[in-house]
């Protein structure tokens, strides 16, 4: 009964939102705002780094963006050019006998007219070339790597100069406690003491790389804002690393648990083997999905809350919308750290389960 009352109260909180929706009907001539398209564009990859869009004095829409290099390998030729040559999809670029066309942020091979073929489900049928381009996500990842290298090389230099046991100062003060926490409380608690140093470099790299990428993704303007750690290929690569670290260094006991689980009757064993075998793959698969889903969901929520203003086309929702966005935004700073922590902790746990001596 109390739960029902709480639910009613919760619904009452949304009444003001509905009230604000009223003025929308007076603006029927205004172009409809495509929320899904905008959000999908923001969380997807792109061939240029969008900086700002505005309407100039003559009422024309101006998009300012940084073109990024497109690298295509087609029919034995390497082609490198800036993405501005596509002119946002309007122009074709010759590649051997074929032409390259930018269509919905993807590069396809077409004929000289740039025809795009579809199947019944409106999927593009044109073939794609081997594409090694520096896209927005790749540029953001390179920036994060550069930042990581700058921070850690400068800290490592100080340790080399002043000795590992000196009193930390400057950037050391920020980095040392985090590294020690990961070594002692995350990795040290899951992996045997004599094997910690073998896996610590990988796990530290994973932690800081995910964290830096998450934080860069949260910066809402130019050098940040790419949805890098919310890209499934990125999280897939990290999860594959964990998969190999787990299975390549797995002990005899680990493989025995999978291939012939001890302490069970034979018919249970036959039942357990496929489950254990699938479990080998579901663990990294869940790692991949968790990071992808959490970061992408964060981006989508912030963008949706901001677009309430444009959907309702009313300035009166702006305070509510900005307040909610800010709340979720500050939560996302926590999530950025938490997801890096959970990825590292679970990787350490899986590696620990595989490599630890049987007690």
């Amino acid at each position: 009964m109390r739960a029902l009352k709480n639910l009613v109260f919760l619904l009452l909180f949304f009444v003001p939102v509905l009230a604000f929706a009223a003025p929308e009907e007076t603006k029927e001539d205004a172009p409809e705002f495509d929320v899904t398209g905008m959000i999908m564009h923001h969380i997807g990859d792109a061939y240029d780094f969008h900086i700002i869009s505005f309407t100039n004095g003559r009422g024309e829409k101006v998009h300012v963006s940084l073109p990024l290099p497109v690298i295509i390998w087609h029919e034995g030729h390497l082609q490198i050019f800036m993405s501005s040559r596509f002119q946002g999809g309007a122009a074709l670029v010759a590649a051997g006998d074929d032409y390259l066309k930018l269509y919905h942020e993807k590069v396809y091979l077409t004929d000289a007219e740039g025809t795009i073929y579809y199947d019944d489900a409106h999927q593009v049928l044109n073939p794609k070339p081997l594409n090694l381009s520096i896209t927005k996500n790749v540029a953001s990842m390179l920036l994060a790597s550069l930042l990581l290298a700058m921070v850690f090389i400068s800290v490592a230099r100080v340790y080399a100069k002043r000795g590992g046991l000196s009193v930390p100062k400057g950037l050391q003060l920020a980095i040392e406690p985090v590294v020690l926490y990961i070594r002692d409380d995350i990795v040290g608690a899951q992996i045997d003491k004599d094997k910690v140093n073998k896996f610590l470099p990988f796990l530290l790299t994973v932690f800081f790389f995910i964290w830096f990428n998450n934080m860069l993704g949260l910066i809402p303007f130019f050098p940040g804002g790419a949805n890098m750690s919310g890209n499934i290929s990125f999280t897939l690569t990290l999860a594959v690393f964990t998969f190999f670290a787990t299975n390549l260094f797995g002990s005899r006991h680990y493989w025995k648990e999978i291939l012939w689980p001890p302490g069970a009757p034979v018919y249970v064993k036959l039942f357990l083997i496929p489950i254990e075998f699938i479990g080998m793959f579901t663990k990294p698969f869940a790692l991949m999905l968790r990071l992808f889903a959490n970061i992408t969901a964060g981006h989508i929520i912030v963008l949706s809350l901001t677009s309430i203003i444009f959907v309702l086309q009313s300035i009166y929702v702006a305070p509510l919308s900005v307040l909610l966005s800010l709340m979720i935004f500050s939560l996302e700073f926590l999530v950025a750290l938490l997801q890096a922590y959970i990825f590292t902790l679970l990787s350490a746990l899986f590696i620990g389960l595989a490599v630890n001596e049987h007690h």
């Binding site: 869940a286 999905l289 968790r290 889903a293 902790l345 679970l346």
Partner: protein, 69 residues
């Protein structure tokens, strides 16, 4: 459109189940920490691992719902 709304209801049920489970874990962990504060870091690790397992199951379901819907 009908498939879409069914998917959304399914997603709601998935999230409801996962949040109930994670809520119970959080409650149990808080109580355990209050009783034995000296091992709270161990409890915290175990709490996060179990929450991650539930989250994993929920994510699988969400992805399936998403692909089917």
């Amino acid at each position: 459109m009908e498939g879409m709304s069914l998917t959304v209801i399914g997603l709601g049920i998935i999230v409801l189940g996962a949040s109930l489970g994670i809520g119970r874990i959080g409650q149990a962990a808080m109580e355990a920490m209050a009783r034995q504060p000296e091992i709270s870091s161990k409890i915290q690790t175990a709490m996060i691992v179990i929450a991650a397992l539930i989250e994993g199951a929920a994510l699988f379901a969400i992805v399936v719902a998403w692909l089917k819907g």
